[in-house]
Protein backbone atom coordinates (compact mmCIF):
# COMPACT_ATOMS: atom_id res chain seq x y z
CA UNK A 1 0.00 0.00 0.00
CA UNK A 2 1.17 3.50 -0.81
CA UNK A 3 2.39 4.95 2.47
CA UNK A 4 0.82 8.29 1.60
CA UNK A 5 -2.63 6.85 1.04
CA UNK A 6 -5.18 8.19 1.48
CA UNK A 7 -4.55 11.65 0.16
CA UNK A 8 -7.12 14.41 0.32
CA UNK A 9 -8.24 13.55 -3.20
CA UNK A 10 -8.53 9.82 -2.67
CA UNK A 11 -11.99 8.47 -3.29
CA UNK A 12 -12.35 5.35 -1.13
CA UNK A 13 -14.97 2.83 -2.07
CA UNK A 14 -16.22 -0.08 -0.05
CA UNK A 15 -15.77 -3.55 -1.47
CA UNK A 16 -18.62 -4.64 -3.68
CA UNK A 17 -20.38 -7.54 -2.05
CA UNK A 18 -19.40 -6.74 1.50
CA UNK A 19 -22.56 -6.96 3.54
CA UNK A 20 -23.26 -4.88 6.58
CA UNK A 21 -25.49 -5.30 9.58
CA UNK A 22 -26.25 -2.43 11.94
CA UNK A 23 -25.88 -3.38 15.58
CA UNK A 24 -26.44 -0.91 18.39
CA UNK A 25 -24.11 1.95 17.39
CA UNK A 26 -21.79 -0.40 15.56
CA UNK A 27 -21.72 -2.02 12.16
CA UNK A 28 -20.69 -5.58 11.42
CA UNK A 29 -19.15 -6.02 7.99
CA UNK A 30 -18.96 -9.41 6.37
CA UNK A 31 -16.57 -9.73 3.48
CA UNK A 32 -17.40 -12.91 1.64
CA UNK A 33 -14.23 -12.71 -0.45
CA UNK A 34 -11.83 -12.50 2.45
CA UNK A 35 -14.27 -14.34 4.71
CA UNK A 36 -13.87 -11.73 7.38
CA UNK A 37 -16.44 -10.64 9.90
CA UNK A 38 -15.42 -7.32 11.36
CA UNK A 39 -17.04 -5.04 13.89
CA UNK A 40 -16.74 -1.34 13.17
CA UNK A 41 -17.32 1.00 16.06
CA UNK A 42 -19.53 4.01 15.51
CA UNK A 43 -16.65 6.21 14.32
CA UNK A 44 -15.36 3.66 11.83
CA UNK A 45 -18.92 2.94 10.73
CA UNK A 46 -19.38 6.64 9.93
CA UNK A 47 -16.29 6.55 7.72
CA UNK A 48 -17.37 3.29 6.11
CA UNK A 49 -20.77 4.73 5.25
CA UNK A 50 -19.11 7.50 3.25
CA UNK A 51 -16.84 5.18 1.25
CA UNK A 52 -19.01 5.44 -1.83
CA UNK A 53 -16.34 5.99 -4.47
CA UNK A 54 -17.34 9.58 -5.11
CA UNK A 55 -16.73 11.26 -1.76
CA UNK A 56 -13.09 12.21 -1.32
CA UNK A 57 -11.16 11.55 1.86
CA UNK A 58 -11.10 15.28 2.50
CA UNK A 59 -14.87 15.48 2.09
CA UNK A 60 -15.27 12.61 4.56
CA UNK A 61 -13.17 14.51 7.10
CA UNK A 62 -15.18 17.67 6.55
CA UNK A 63 -18.49 15.88 6.84
CA UNK A 64 -17.53 14.20 10.09
CA UNK A 65 -15.95 17.36 11.50
CA UNK A 66 -19.17 19.20 10.83
CA UNK A 67 -21.12 16.50 12.62
CA UNK A 68 -18.68 16.39 15.55
CA UNK A 69 -17.22 19.89 15.92
CA UNK A 70 -15.82 19.14 19.37
CA UNK A 71 -13.47 16.59 17.85
CA UNK A 72 -12.68 18.39 14.62
CA UNK A 73 -8.98 18.63 15.46
CA UNK A 74 -8.46 14.87 15.58
CA UNK A 75 -10.95 13.72 13.00
CA UNK A 76 -8.55 14.14 10.10
CA UNK A 77 -6.05 11.68 11.50
CA UNK A 78 -8.78 9.32 12.72
CA UNK A 79 -10.31 9.17 9.26
CA UNK A 80 -6.94 8.56 7.65
CA UNK A 81 -6.09 5.73 10.04
CA UNK A 82 -9.52 4.19 9.66
CA UNK A 83 -9.30 4.25 5.87
CA UNK A 84 -5.83 2.72 5.96
CA UNK A 85 -7.04 -0.05 8.27
CA UNK A 86 -10.07 -0.74 6.09
CA UNK A 87 -7.80 -0.84 3.06
CA UNK A 88 -5.41 -3.26 4.79
CA UNK A 89 -8.37 -5.52 5.43
CA UNK A 90 -9.36 -5.29 1.80
CA UNK A 91 -12.65 -3.66 2.64
CA UNK A 92 -12.02 -0.41 0.76
CA UNK A 93 -10.06 0.49 -2.32
CA UNK A 94 -9.52 3.72 -4.19
CA UNK A 95 -11.61 4.93 -7.10
CA UNK A 96 -9.33 7.88 -7.84
CA UNK A 97 -8.53 8.14 -11.53
CA UNK A 98 -10.71 5.24 -12.53
CA UNK A 99 -14.02 4.93 -14.27
CA UNK A 100 -15.65 2.58 -11.92
CA UNK A 101 -12.96 -0.01 -11.30
CA UNK A 102 -10.86 0.24 -8.19
CA UNK A 103 -7.31 1.40 -8.77
CA UNK A 104 -5.04 -1.63 -8.71
CA UNK A 105 -2.27 -1.96 -6.19
CA UNK A 106 -3.39 0.94 -4.05
CA UNK A 107 -5.54 -0.53 -1.36
CA UNK A 108 -6.15 -3.96 -0.05
CA UNK A 109 -2.76 -5.13 -1.19
Amino acid sequence: MDSQWPTADSRPVSRLGASTVELDDNVAVYDDVGQLLILLNSSAASVWALCDGSTTAQAIVEALAAAHPDHADVIGEDVRQTLRKLAELGLVSDMTGTDGAAAPGVAGS
Binding site: S19, V21, L23, D24, A28, Y30, Q35, L37, L39
Partner: protein
Protein backbone atom coordinates in the same frame (compact mmCIF):
# COMPACT_ATOMS: atom_id res chain seq x y z
CA UNK B 1 -23.83 -56.95 1.89
CA UNK B 2 -26.88 -55.71 3.79
CA UNK B 3 -29.23 -57.87 1.76
CA UNK B 4 -27.13 -60.93 2.35
CA UNK B 5 -27.09 -60.64 6.06
CA UNK B 6 -29.95 -61.59 8.34
CA UNK B 7 -30.29 -58.64 10.66
CA UNK B 8 -31.86 -59.23 14.01
CA UNK B 9 -33.28 -55.72 13.97
CA UNK B 10 -33.42 -52.74 11.66
CA UNK B 11 -34.90 -49.39 12.61
CA UNK B 12 -37.45 -47.61 10.49
CA UNK B 13 -36.09 -44.84 8.30
CA UNK B 14 -34.87 -41.96 10.42
CA UNK B 15 -34.10 -38.34 9.64
CA UNK B 16 -31.62 -35.96 11.19
CA UNK B 17 -32.46 -32.66 9.46
CA UNK B 18 -31.68 -33.56 5.83
CA UNK B 19 -29.76 -36.72 6.66
CA UNK B 20 -31.78 -39.92 6.21
CA UNK B 21 -30.56 -43.11 7.72
CA UNK B 22 -31.44 -46.42 9.31
CA UNK B 23 -29.59 -48.66 11.72
CA UNK B 24 -29.32 -52.44 11.51
CA UNK B 25 -27.94 -54.68 14.25
CA UNK B 26 -27.21 -58.36 14.54
CA UNK B 27 -28.23 -58.14 18.20
CA UNK B 28 -31.99 -57.76 18.44
CA UNK B 29 -32.04 -56.32 21.94
CA UNK B 30 -29.46 -53.70 21.07
CA UNK B 31 -31.32 -52.88 17.86
CA UNK B 32 -34.57 -52.33 19.73
CA UNK B 33 -32.76 -50.21 22.29
CA UNK B 34 -31.31 -48.03 19.56
CA UNK B 35 -34.68 -47.73 17.86
CA UNK B 36 -36.24 -46.53 21.10
CA UNK B 37 -33.40 -44.08 21.57
CA UNK B 38 -33.73 -42.62 18.08
CA UNK B 39 -37.45 -43.01 17.62
CA UNK B 40 -38.12 -39.26 17.80
CA UNK B 41 -36.21 -38.96 14.53
CA UNK B 42 -38.54 -41.32 12.65
CA UNK B 43 -38.92 -40.05 9.11
CA UNK B 44 -42.56 -39.08 8.78
CA UNK B 45 -42.27 -38.93 5.02
CA UNK B 46 -44.07 -35.60 5.09
CA UNK B 47 -41.17 -33.79 3.53
CA UNK B 48 -40.31 -34.17 -0.10
CA UNK B 49 -37.28 -36.38 -0.51
CA UNK B 50 -34.64 -34.96 -2.80
CA UNK B 51 -32.43 -37.16 -4.89
CA UNK B 52 -29.52 -36.13 -2.70
CA UNK B 53 -31.32 -37.47 0.36
CA UNK B 54 -30.18 -41.04 -0.18
CA UNK B 55 -30.79 -43.35 2.72
CA UNK B 56 -27.64 -44.21 4.61
CA UNK B 57 -27.32 -47.39 6.60
CA UNK B 58 -25.43 -47.93 9.79
CA UNK B 59 -24.61 -51.43 10.90
CA UNK B 60 -23.58 -52.67 14.30
CA UNK B 61 -22.01 -56.09 14.14
CA UNK B 62 -20.87 -58.20 17.06
CA UNK B 63 -17.37 -59.52 16.63
CA UNK B 64 -15.59 -62.43 18.20
CA UNK B 65 -13.97 -60.37 20.92
CA UNK B 66 -17.38 -59.50 22.31
CA UNK B 67 -17.19 -55.97 21.02
CA UNK B 68 -19.03 -54.18 18.24
CA UNK B 69 -17.99 -52.73 14.92
CA UNK B 70 -19.90 -49.68 13.72
CA UNK B 71 -20.02 -49.05 9.98
CA UNK B 72 -21.80 -46.59 7.72
CA UNK B 73 -22.70 -47.67 4.21
CA UNK B 74 -20.27 -50.54 4.59
CA UNK B 75 -17.35 -48.37 5.68
CA UNK B 76 -16.02 -48.83 9.18
CA UNK B 77 -16.60 -45.91 11.51
CA UNK B 78 -15.15 -47.48 14.66
CA UNK B 79 -14.19 -51.00 15.70
CA UNK B 80 -13.96 -52.77 19.02
CA UNK B 81 -16.64 -50.79 20.81
CA UNK B 82 -18.63 -51.49 23.94
CA UNK B 83 -22.39 -51.11 23.55
CA UNK B 84 -22.40 -47.73 25.26
CA UNK B 85 -19.52 -46.47 23.16
CA UNK B 86 -21.08 -47.82 19.96
CA UNK B 87 -24.26 -45.89 20.69
CA UNK B 88 -22.22 -42.79 21.50
CA UNK B 89 -20.30 -43.05 18.24
CA UNK B 90 -23.51 -43.66 16.30
CA UNK B 91 -25.11 -40.52 17.71
CA UNK B 92 -21.89 -38.59 17.08
CA UNK B 93 -21.68 -39.71 13.46
CA UNK B 94 -25.33 -38.96 12.77
CA UNK B 95 -24.77 -35.49 14.19
CA UNK B 96 -21.71 -34.97 12.01
CA UNK B 97 -23.55 -36.16 8.93
CA UNK B 98 -26.59 -34.02 9.73
CA UNK B 99 -24.36 -30.96 9.82
CA UNK B 100 -22.68 -31.94 6.57
CA UNK B 101 -25.85 -32.60 4.64
CA UNK B 102 -28.07 -29.80 5.94
CA UNK B 103 -26.08 -26.90 4.60
CA UNK B 104 -29.13 -25.26 3.08
CA UNK B 105 -29.92 -24.11 6.60
CA UNK B 106 -27.87 -21.83 8.81
CA UNK B 107 -26.64 -24.21 11.48
CA UNK B 108 -25.76 -23.29 15.02
CA UNK B 109 -23.84 -25.20 17.62
CA UNK B 110 -26.66 -24.72 20.06
CA UNK B 111 -29.46 -26.18 22.05
CA UNK B 112 -32.99 -25.34 21.00
CA UNK B 113 -36.35 -25.37 22.75
CA UNK B 114 -39.87 -24.22 22.10
CA UNK B 115 -42.26 -22.66 24.54
CA UNK B 116 -45.77 -21.87 23.36
CA UNK B 117 -44.60 -21.40 19.80
CA UNK B 118 -41.62 -19.27 20.71
CA UNK B 119 -38.14 -20.56 20.11
CA UNK B 120 -35.29 -20.43 22.59
CA UNK B 121 -31.83 -20.74 21.11
CA UNK B 122 -29.01 -21.75 23.46
CA UNK B 123 -25.75 -21.27 21.58
CA UNK B 124 -22.44 -22.25 23.07
CA UNK B 125 -19.33 -24.34 22.69
CA UNK B 126 -18.71 -27.64 24.40
CA UNK B 127 -18.37 -27.16 28.13
CA UNK B 128 -20.58 -24.08 28.26
CA UNK B 129 -23.44 -26.00 29.87
CA UNK B 130 -25.54 -25.92 26.72
CA UNK B 131 -26.75 -29.52 26.81
CA UNK B 132 -27.24 -29.47 30.57
CA UNK B 133 -29.34 -26.32 30.40
CA UNK B 134 -31.28 -27.63 27.41
CA UNK B 135 -32.01 -30.86 29.26
CA UNK B 136 -32.99 -28.96 32.38
CA UNK B 137 -35.41 -26.78 30.45
CA UNK B 138 -36.87 -29.76 28.62
CA UNK B 139 -37.38 -31.43 31.98
CA UNK B 140 -39.07 -28.23 33.16
CA UNK B 141 -41.67 -28.43 30.41
CA UNK B 142 -40.10 -26.72 27.42
CA UNK B 143 -40.49 -28.65 24.17
CA UNK B 144 -37.22 -29.98 22.84
CA UNK B 145 -35.71 -29.11 19.45
CA UNK B 146 -32.08 -30.19 19.84
CA UNK B 147 -29.24 -30.14 22.31
CA UNK B 148 -26.39 -29.83 19.87
CA UNK B 149 -27.24 -28.58 16.40
CA UNK B 150 -30.04 -26.16 15.66
CA UNK B 151 -31.00 -25.41 12.07
CA UNK B 152 -32.30 -21.96 11.19
CA UNK B 153 -34.35 -22.15 8.02
CA UNK B 154 -33.47 -19.01 6.11
CA UNK B 155 -36.58 -18.97 3.94
CA UNK B 156 -38.97 -19.01 6.88
CA UNK B 157 -36.79 -17.70 9.73
CA UNK B 158 -37.74 -20.72 11.81
CA UNK B 159 -35.76 -22.97 14.08
CA UNK B 160 -36.18 -26.57 12.99
CA UNK B 161 -36.47 -29.68 15.08
CA UNK B 162 -33.64 -32.17 15.20
CA UNK B 163 -34.70 -34.41 18.07
CA UNK B 164 -31.54 -36.37 18.65
CA UNK B 165 -31.14 -38.00 22.06
CA UNK B 166 -29.80 -35.55 24.61
CA UNK B 167 -26.16 -36.33 25.23
CA UNK B 168 -25.17 -35.61 28.80
CA UNK B 169 -21.62 -35.85 30.01
CA UNK B 170 -20.71 -37.18 33.44
CA UNK B 171 -20.46 -33.70 34.93
CA UNK B 172 -24.21 -33.24 34.40
CA UNK B 173 -25.37 -36.54 35.89
CA UNK B 174 -25.83 -35.24 39.43
CA UNK B 175 -27.90 -32.26 38.30
CA UNK B 176 -30.28 -34.35 36.20
CA UNK B 177 -30.76 -37.64 38.06
CA UNK B 178 -34.26 -38.16 36.62
CA UNK B 179 -32.78 -38.48 33.16
CA UNK B 180 -30.60 -41.43 34.02
CA UNK B 181 -31.22 -44.18 31.50
CA UNK B 182 -33.91 -46.62 32.52
CA UNK B 183 -33.14 -49.48 34.81
CA UNK B 184 -33.72 -51.98 32.04
CA UNK B 185 -31.03 -50.38 29.94
CA UNK B 186 -28.31 -52.97 30.14
CA UNK B 187 -26.24 -51.47 27.38
CA UNK B 188 -23.75 -49.77 29.56
CA UNK B 189 -25.29 -46.39 30.18
CA UNK B 190 -25.96 -47.23 33.80
CA UNK B 191 -22.44 -48.28 34.34
CA UNK B 192 -21.06 -46.00 37.06
CA UNK B 193 -18.08 -45.45 34.82
CA UNK B 194 -20.26 -44.33 31.88
CA UNK B 195 -18.87 -41.20 30.34
CA UNK B 196 -22.17 -40.01 28.94
CA UNK B 197 -25.87 -40.65 28.94
CA UNK B 198 -27.90 -40.75 25.76
CA UNK B 199 -31.34 -39.60 26.89
CA UNK B 200 -34.27 -40.43 24.61
CA UNK B 201 -36.82 -37.72 23.88
CA UNK B 202 -40.37 -37.56 22.59
CA UNK B 203 -43.23 -40.03 22.92
CA UNK B 204 -42.91 -42.46 25.79
CA UNK B 205 -40.53 -40.10 27.58
CA UNK B 206 -41.17 -37.11 29.81
CA UNK B 207 -39.43 -34.81 27.33
CA UNK B 208 -41.83 -33.38 24.75
CA UNK B 209 -40.82 -32.52 21.22
CA UNK B 210 -41.04 -29.04 19.78
CA UNK B 211 -42.15 -27.99 16.34
CA UNK B 212 -40.55 -25.45 13.98
CA UNK B 213 -40.88 -21.99 15.43
CA UNK B 214 -39.48 -18.49 15.24
CA UNK B 215 -36.72 -17.68 17.69
CA UNK B 216 -37.78 -15.27 20.41
CA UNK B 217 -34.98 -15.72 22.94
CA UNK B 218 -31.26 -16.26 22.73
CA UNK B 219 -29.81 -17.51 26.00
CA UNK B 220 -26.03 -17.78 26.05
CA UNK B 221 -25.02 -20.19 28.83
CA UNK B 222 -21.83 -20.12 30.78
CA UNK B 223 -21.39 -22.80 33.39
CA UNK B 224 -19.44 -21.28 36.25
CA UNK B 225 -18.99 -23.74 39.12
CA UNK B 226 -19.25 -21.95 42.42
CA UNK B 227 -20.33 -18.72 40.77
CA UNK B 228 -23.57 -16.82 41.04
CA UNK B 229 -26.48 -17.82 38.86
CA UNK B 230 -27.76 -14.78 36.99
CA UNK B 231 -29.20 -13.51 33.76
CA UNK B 232 -27.86 -10.37 32.14
CA UNK B 233 -28.83 -8.62 28.96
CA UNK B 234 -26.60 -8.88 25.92
CA UNK B 235 -26.27 -6.03 23.49
CA UNK B 236 -27.19 -6.66 19.89
CA UNK B 237 -23.51 -6.62 19.05
CA UNK B 238 -22.66 -9.22 21.70
CA UNK B 239 -25.53 -11.43 20.59
CA UNK B 240 -24.59 -11.11 16.93
CA UNK B 241 -21.00 -12.15 17.51
CA UNK B 242 -21.98 -14.95 19.85
CA UNK B 243 -24.22 -16.32 17.12
CA UNK B 244 -21.47 -15.86 14.54
CA UNK B 245 -18.96 -17.73 16.70
CA UNK B 246 -21.39 -20.60 17.11
CA UNK B 247 -22.57 -20.70 13.51
CA UNK B 248 -21.35 -23.88 11.88
CA UNK B 249 -21.64 -22.81 8.27
CA UNK B 250 -21.81 -19.02 8.11
CA UNK B 251 -19.24 -19.05 5.32
CA UNK B 252 -21.64 -21.01 3.13
CA UNK B 253 -24.41 -18.46 3.51
CA UNK B 254 -22.36 -15.27 3.35
CA UNK B 255 -24.62 -12.23 3.03
CA UNK B 256 -27.87 -14.07 3.71
CA UNK B 257 -26.34 -15.70 6.76
CA UNK B 258 -24.93 -12.46 8.09
CA UNK B 259 -28.24 -10.73 7.65
CA UNK B 260 -29.99 -13.61 9.40
CA UNK B 261 -27.65 -13.23 12.36
CA UNK B 262 -28.47 -9.54 12.48
CA UNK B 263 -32.19 -10.22 12.36
CA UNK B 264 -31.95 -12.78 15.14
CA UNK B 265 -29.89 -10.46 17.33
CA UNK B 266 -32.31 -7.59 16.73
CA UNK B 267 -35.53 -9.52 17.06
CA UNK B 268 -34.78 -11.80 19.97
CA UNK B 269 -34.42 -11.04 23.62
CA UNK B 270 -30.75 -11.87 24.14
CA UNK B 271 -29.26 -12.74 27.50
CA UNK B 272 -26.25 -14.33 29.08
CA UNK B 273 -26.98 -16.94 31.71
CA UNK B 274 -24.11 -17.60 34.09
CA UNK B 275 -24.97 -20.53 36.26
CA UNK B 276 -23.68 -22.92 38.82
CA UNK B 277 -27.09 -24.13 40.00
CA UNK B 278 -29.17 -25.72 37.24
CA UNK B 279 -32.43 -25.50 39.18
CA UNK B 280 -32.01 -21.78 39.73
CA UNK B 281 -30.92 -21.28 36.12
CA UNK B 282 -34.03 -23.02 34.81
CA UNK B 283 -36.23 -21.01 37.14
CA UNK B 284 -34.78 -17.77 35.77
CA UNK B 285 -35.46 -18.88 32.21
CA UNK B 286 -38.97 -20.09 33.03
CA UNK B 287 -39.71 -16.69 34.61
CA UNK B 288 -38.27 -14.91 31.61
CA UNK B 289 -40.10 -16.85 28.94
CA UNK B 290 -43.26 -16.98 30.97
CA UNK B 291 -44.05 -20.61 30.47
CA UNK B 292 -45.38 -22.51 33.43
CA UNK B 293 -43.08 -25.34 34.29
CA UNK B 294 -44.53 -28.80 33.99
CA UNK B 295 -42.26 -30.04 36.74
CA UNK B 296 -39.83 -28.64 39.18
CA UNK B 297 -36.78 -27.83 37.18
Amino acid sequence: MLRDRAWAHCTPNLRALSYRFAVCCDDGALGRHIEALLYAMCDSGDEEIAASDALHRYTLISVASGTLDLARDGELVRAGLTCADAIGWLVWDVNRAAAETSGQHLLFHAGGLEAAGRGVLVPGPSGSGKSTLTAGLARAGFAYLSDELVAFELATSRLLSYPKPITLKAGSFAALPELEPLADDDFGSRNPAAREWQVPVGASTALALGTPCEAAFIIVPRYDPGGTTSLSTLTETEAFFTLALNAVNLISHQTAGTEALGQLAARCECLRLCFSDLEEACRLVVDLVGVPAAQTC
